[in-house]
């Protein structure tokens, strides 16, 4: 009897291990791909940023990256990215909210209008903005009558933020639109039936339901802005140098690979910190809600 009951267990075990082996085989290309194209470059960049001219380990490049002009470039990068994230979130919210109220056909058309310009190269679009926003551009020509004209909309922080915000907008609109479409309009009607006004419904029902989308959209545009190169380089002045521009200068003009590597690692750490922050805030919010309920 004992032998009989034990018998079926063995082939199953064999099968399981075979399954695992097949699984590893399937995963192998992906693992190799990631190792070669992601892990290896990141680790070698990390080593590069820690290596002195004579090959010994040093934190010199990091100290360099976090002092003087380099530090102010880093702070500018963070500031412009935050401004871009905030603005693209606000405009993205307004746009996505309006589109999500349209009938499906019109909504599809509106999404197309938002997305299609981004099939064109970012470089072309940036030059488009430069033409529009210049001292003799369309915007200033139409506003010629206004006091204080022409306005300086280029080669300053305003110009950079206008440019980057327009580049990030489709990401936030796409993300938010998806989340907003998922909100059951019946919930808003239910809140109204209990006596909630428009502002209350927005604040206590609609906003919490789209909040996860807001967090990920804001984070996405922040992270993308951190490493953005073309638009800030073309639409900003010397005071709007961002970290990507600085890295480019170090590599192409000064042949300073170690310093560039250190700044690249800092950029990566900032991105990870941003991710962590959003994760922390959302989990804090969830636990706060749990506490208030019990």
């Amino acid at each position: 009897m004992a032998a009989l009951t034990a018998a079926p267990a063995r082939p199953r075990k064999l099968l399981a291990s075979r399954k695992t082996r097949v699984g590893i085989l399937y995963a192998l290309p992906v693992v190799v791909y990631l190792l070669v194209l992601f892990v290896y470059p990141i680790i070698s960049t990390l080593f590069l940023s820690l290596k002195n001219a004579d090959g010994s380990l040093t934190l010199h490049w990091y100290v360099d990256a976090l002092t003087g002009v380099n530090l102010s470039v880093l702070i500018t990068t963070l500031r412009i990215s935050a401004e871009t994230a905030l603005l693209s979130l606000v405009f993205g919210f307004i746009l996505a909210n309006a589109i999500s109220r349209l009938r499906p056909l019109w909504a599809g058309l509106a999404m197309l209008i938002v997305v299609v310009p981004h099939f064109i190269s970012a470089l072309v679009r940036t030059y488009g903005w430069i033409i529009l926003l210049g001292d003799k551009g369309l915007v200033n020509e139409t506003l010629a009558w206004a006091p204080g004209a022409p306005y300086h909309l280029l080669y300053n922080e305003l110009g950079v933020v206008i440019g980057t915000t327009s580049m990030m907008l489709p990401y936030t609109v796409l993300l938010l639109y998806g989340v907003m479409r998922g909100v059951d309009r019946g919930l808003l009607a239910a809140a109204a039936s209990m006596g909630a006004g428009r502002v209350t419904i927005f604040r206590r029902v609609y906003l919490p339901l789209v909040a996860p989308g807001l967090a990920s959209a804001g984070l996405l545009s922040f992270i993308l802005s951190l490493g953005y190169y073309i638009t800030p380089a073309l639409m900003g002045g010397p005071n709007q140098t961002m970290i990507a521009t600085l890295i480019n200068q170090q590599v192409t003009k000064e042949n300073q690979w170690n310093g560039a590597a250190a700044q690249g690692v800092l950029l990566l750490l900032l991105t990870l910190a941003g991710l962590l922050l959003v994760k922390l805030i959302s989990s804090l919010g969830a636990s706060a809600k749990k506490r208030s309920a019990s």
Binding site: L187, A190, A191, S193, T200, L209
Partner: protein, 379 residues
């Protein structure tokens, strides 16, 4: 009632006046709504007393849901007025009407716990925190949901979710609670159970409820009065017993009682009864006294359960039993009446005394159970 006494006093603080005030809770006058050429609701009028459980009963497209949506404020009437507790709310936004609404799809706020869902309408009304906690607790207890306060709606079953939705609609004691097929998404057994629960809570708390359903049994079980609707018209607004025993239109007789219809002509009147000569069999049928003139073509309506089989010469007609189906406590019989190719007459008789297939029987009915409708009315 005593155990809910704790809740009742606080109602005065919140709603301005208690929901259980006697008299009219809601009145609807000549309410009309059209969508293009289609008349969804045609001059509906009704008065609903405080503490009453009223059901709008009808098939889809009858205008029952449209009427409810107009009362709730989600849909604007073309004309007519809606008054809640003496206040004209016809053109008010839903949030200004102070009504409760239970939706078929529950529509609980997924980001809030059960407690916060039920507390939501109270927080809107500025009720102090301690009182919110107390009243939410009490309301959840009434619905048998104590201990569920900390859960999220998605962690509950459909029946539990609808109970929470019910709590959320009654916790602030609105003068009228509207329910749009609240049990439509639940299975039969749970539906039966919740029908009784909702009815019990309604009676114990003295709630005024307007309920929409297409399920006749549900309407009969729960309602004090039922408005039977068809094609945007209120066919009859009466107690279940009246609707069942004294239908005012052939539609009501058919929809609720599944009545048999026989064509005939008024023969003569006696002091108490009206005699009808049946067209097909030529038999003479005694009905309740009617005011229709002699010779008027009429439709005779008798429910299957109110017909009896008798000796062949004692009935108003005779026929052959074609089918006899045993369905538990009843036997459902189909009788082919002599003298014509009329549809089978349907009978429901207690099992054991029932006729058997092939038997020749007479058919009789108590005059009180026979309803007459003027013949030109469509059935």
């Amino acid at each position: 009632m005593a155990e809910f006494g704790v809740i009742t006093p606080s109602v005065a603080v919140v709603g301005g006046k208690p929901a259980t005030a006697t008299g009219k809770a809601l009145s609807v006058v000549a309410l009309r709504k059209t969508y293009g050429d289609i008349v969804a609701v045609d001059e509906a009028s009704m008065e609903i007393a405080a503490g009453e459980f009223v059901t709008f009963l009808g098939s889809s497209g009858s205008g029952k849901t449209t009427t409810l949506m107009m009362i709730a404020g989600f849909c604007e009437p073309d004309s007519g007025t809606i008054t809640v507790g003496g206040r004209d709310v016809t053109r008010l936004a839903p949030q200004k009407r102070n009504l409760g609404f239970v939706f078929q799809q529950y529509l609980l706020f997924p980001h809030m716990t059960v407690h916060d869902n039920v507390a939501f309408p109270l927080t809107l009304r500025g009720v102090p925190k301690d009182e919110i906690r107390r009243r939410v607790g009490e309301t959840l207890e009434i619905a048998g949901l104590s201990g569920f306060g900390g859960r999220k709606p998605r962690e509950l079953s459909g029946g539990q979710q609808q109970r929470v939705a019910l709590c959320r609609a009654l916790v602030y004691r609105p003068p009228v609670i509207l329910m749009d097929e609240p049990l439509g998404a639940l299975d039969k057994k749970l539906r039966d159970q919740l029908q009784v629960e909702i009815k019990t809570i309604q009676q114990e708390l003295g709630l005024t409820v307007i309920y929409v359903t297409h399920d006749q049994e549900e309407a009969l079980v729960m309602s004090d009065r039922i408005a039977v609707m068809r094609n945007g018209l209120v066919e009859q607004f009466d107690t279940p017993r009246e609707l069942f025993e004294r239908p005012k239109t052939p539609f009501v007789a058919d929809f609720l009682g599944a009545a048999n219809f026989l064509p005939g002509r008024i023969e003569q009147h006696t002091d108490e009864h009206t005699l009808v000569r049946l067209d097909r069999s030529g038999g003479l049928l005694k009905a309740r006294r009617h005011d229709l003139a002699s010779g008027t073509p009429v439709k005779v309506a008798v429910q299957p359960g109110r017909l009896r089989a008798c000796a062949i010469d004692d009935g108003f007609c005779s026929g052959t039993v074609e089918t006899a189906t045993y369905v538990g406590t009843l036997v459902r019989a189909g009788v082919r009446i002599d003298g014509g190719d009329a549809p089978l007459l349907r009978l429901e008789v207690p099992a054991g005394r029932g006729p058997v297939a092939g038997e020749r029987v007479g058919i009789t009915a108590d005059p009180d159970d026979v309803n007459l409708f003027a013949g030109e009315q469509e059935g």
